[in-house]
């Protein structure tokens, strides 16, 4: 029993959940002890989006140092814009819109990997550059207009049962599948192997190229999915709808216990960290501090949480 507990506490994702719980508790206490359930419910609703892109970002980061997808916000925007424009508030066109949005996201992923592989551009810069092009495409397609989602899509994105958003349940299932994929499929093992040592992975007979390709495509498609869902959730797409997700997608992955140096991904931690990040902002909002103080506190708390819970792999002699 004790062994189980200490093993549990040793898991890299526990810290993020503990931090989320603590922040939630403080928020509720400060709010006078009420609203805890509602806060949690909206935290789940909004964390869902961060988790979707976090899953893709985690896969990318796990393929090794220097791998990160900075095109997630732009891809979200493009996908949201395409979906809303094609659907044009018609329920009958929902599937068409989703298919087109996912198709576009797929192409973004292909383009990202193409830049990395064929032009040998470091991923950070490749995805940053492509994000500019993607955003321009979104601008020229959407012209900055905010078109409403069809009602069924909006209903699905915002529906809740007993305070638990449907979308959160669906994404929890998605996360479980990705977690399983990471641990128990050849693709997942290859991702982890590449992250530790790309050359060794190649020499072990793993398909390095196809795996990296699939990873960047996966990340882009998850971003695309998030773009569609978010548009459904908040009543349309906007050119800046992805802005918040650039740093957030990286932060939730790393706070969640995924190694920045690659080779070790962690799925549950993404949930913990996404909830933590949302609840942290909420807590500071409830405290009602001035914007400057709020920012400073946000930063210090993130640093404190990672300092207490988030040591990278323990040093070996």
């Amino acid at each position: 029993m004790k062994g189980l507990l200490s093993r549990l506490l040793g898991q890299p994702w526990v810290g993020s959940f503990l931090a989320a719980g603590l922040v939630w508790l403080l928020a509720v206490v400060f709010a006078g002890g009420h609203g805890g359930g509602e806060i949690l419910s909206s935290a789940l609703a909004f964390a869902t989006f961060t988790v979707i892109v976090g899953l893709g970002q985690m896969m990318v980061i796990t393929t090794g140092p220097g791998n990160v997808d900075l095109s997630i916000p732009a891809t979200m925007t493009l996908s949201g814009v395409i979906a809303m424009k094609l659907m044009d508030t018609e329920s009958a066109l929902i599937l068409v819109g989703i298919a087109a949005a996912m198709g576009a996201s797929f192409l973004v992923g292909v383009a990202n990997y193409g830049l990395i592989r064929l032009l040998r551009i470091p991923p950070i810069i490749a995805t940053l550059s492509s994000s500019f092009l993607v955003l321009s495409t979104a601008i020229s397609i959407g012209r900055g207009l905010r078109i409403k989602p069809p009602a069924p899509l909006a209903d699905f994105a915002t529906a809740r049962a007993f305070g638990v958003p449907f979308a959160a349940i669906a994404v929890a299932a998605l996360a479980a599948i990705i977690g399983l994929t990471l641990k128990h499929t050849i693709y997942g093992r290859t991702v982890a192997a590449i992250g530790q040592n790309e050359r060794a992975a190649w020499l072990a007979g793993l398909d390095v190229r196809r795996t990296r390709f699939a990873t960047y495509v996966l990340s882009a498609m998850l971003a695309g999915l998030c773009g569609v869902l978010q548009s459904g959730f908040s009543g349309g797409s906007a050119l800046n709808m992805g802005d918040d997700f650039l740093l957030a997608s990286i932060a939730v992955v790393v706070i969640g216990g995924t190694s920045v140096a690659g080779g070790r991904g962690n799925v549950p931690g993404i949930w913990g960290a996404a909830l933590f990040m949302y609840l942290l902002v909420t807590m500071l909002n409830i405290f009602g501090a001035s914007p400057g103080v709020r920012l400073v506190m946000t930063g210090l708390i993130i640093i404190a949480v990672i300092a207490v819970a988030g040591s990278e792999n323990p040093r070996r002699a």
Partner: protein, 315 residues
């Protein structure tokens, strides 16, 4: 006579519907002006991020390109002063609008953002004189517009102590962010009578209230079409009343005409004020009808409008 003069628009951000509408208005008004030979060129330049340094570099390049006037929506009121001065020194007319600059050599087509905040509270005093709890949605911390609107609201609340701001979040002028932040703080708040906003955040707030199952308070809107549409739906359903206020993206065209007048040798005072665009209950249907689906309520200006504004300010 300005037929061989070239005017450039320096814009620092294109990532939201307001800026897109602004660029579109510019296009709509300057194209005919160029075609009919009023000016030789009126090119729009935009950078990707809301960044001073990128815009500064951009303006420097516009100087090098030999434009006669630069119409600028500045990323910062002060931080571009260095480069604005360089432009003036190179003999270039600089007209700033929306995001104005403080460098004395430049012209300012300003919106009184502080007053905009004040107007929101003034409206409340008429609508609900009894007062009540307010939720404030602010913009991006550290940006001039956010600070100005906020201080207007603050003044209003100070003058009318029956109102109390019980919560404040940063919506960064984006519906998604506003929705997220409001949803988070809402459970901790007592009953909210009204939400004071900065534009581009009202619809998100409305959705957050709906999702939380709370009664919809009076939410000040920011002239976005989806906001007006929502307002209309509520109005038809239960007679919901509110107001909507924001700066019209078409103000870029006013700045264009002002620049043209200055190049033409007209006397133009350095500080001009444009009214913000306010939509009241009565105007709602009309404004909604003239606003593009998914866009922003807008007015474009003609040369005559500009002359009137200038004449008004010169008095």
């Amino acid at each position: 006579d300005t037929k061989d003069k070239k005017i450039a628009l320096s814009n620092n951000y294109a990532g939201n519907s307001w800026r897109q509408a602004m660029l579109k208005s510019w296009d709509k008004v300057t194209k005919p002006a160029v075609a009919s030979g009023i000016v030789a060129a009126a090119d729009a330049y935009t950078t990707s991020e809301n960044q001073v340094t990128e815009q500064a570099a951009q303006i420097q390049n516009l100087i090098l390109q030999g434009y006669n006037a630069i119409v600028v929506n500045a990323a910062s009121p002060d931080a571009l002063n260095g480069v604005i001065k360089q432009a003036c020194d190179a003999g270039i007319t600089v007209v700033s609008f929306d995001g104005i600059v403080t460098e004395p050599c430049a012209w300012r087509v300003a919106v009184d953002f502080k007053k905009m905040g004040r107007v929101e509270v003034d409206y409340l005093t008429k609508k609900m004189p009894a007062g009540g709890n307010l939720l404030e949605i602010r913009g991006l911390a550290g940006v001039f517009v956010d600070d100005a609107i906020h201080s207007g609201i603050e003044d209003g609340v100070k003058a009318n102590p029956q109102y109390k701001i019980v919560g404040s979040v940063h919506g960064n002028w984006a519906q998604e962010v506003a929705q997220k932040e409001v949803a988070g703080i809402l459970p901790s708040l007592p009953e909210i009578k009204a939400v004071v906003t900065q534009g581009g955040d009202g619809y998100g707030a409305a959705q957050a209230f709906a999702a939380a199952g709370r009664p919809t308070p009076l939410i000040v809107m920011g002239n976005r079409q989806d906001e007006l549409q929502w307002w209309k739906e509520q109005k038809d359903k239960n007679g919901y009343e509110t107001m909507s206020v924001s700066i019209a993206p078409g103000v870029s065209t006013l700045a264009f005409w002002v620049a043209q007048m200055i190049l033409d040798g007209k006397q133009v005072p350095k500080d001009l004020t444009v009214p913000f665009l306010q939509i009241d209950q009565a105007d709602l249907e009309k404004s909604l009808a003239t606003t593009e689906k998914g866009g922003v309520a807008n007015v474009e200006y003609t040369a005559d409008d500009a002359a009137k504004v200038v004449a008004g300010a010169s008095k």
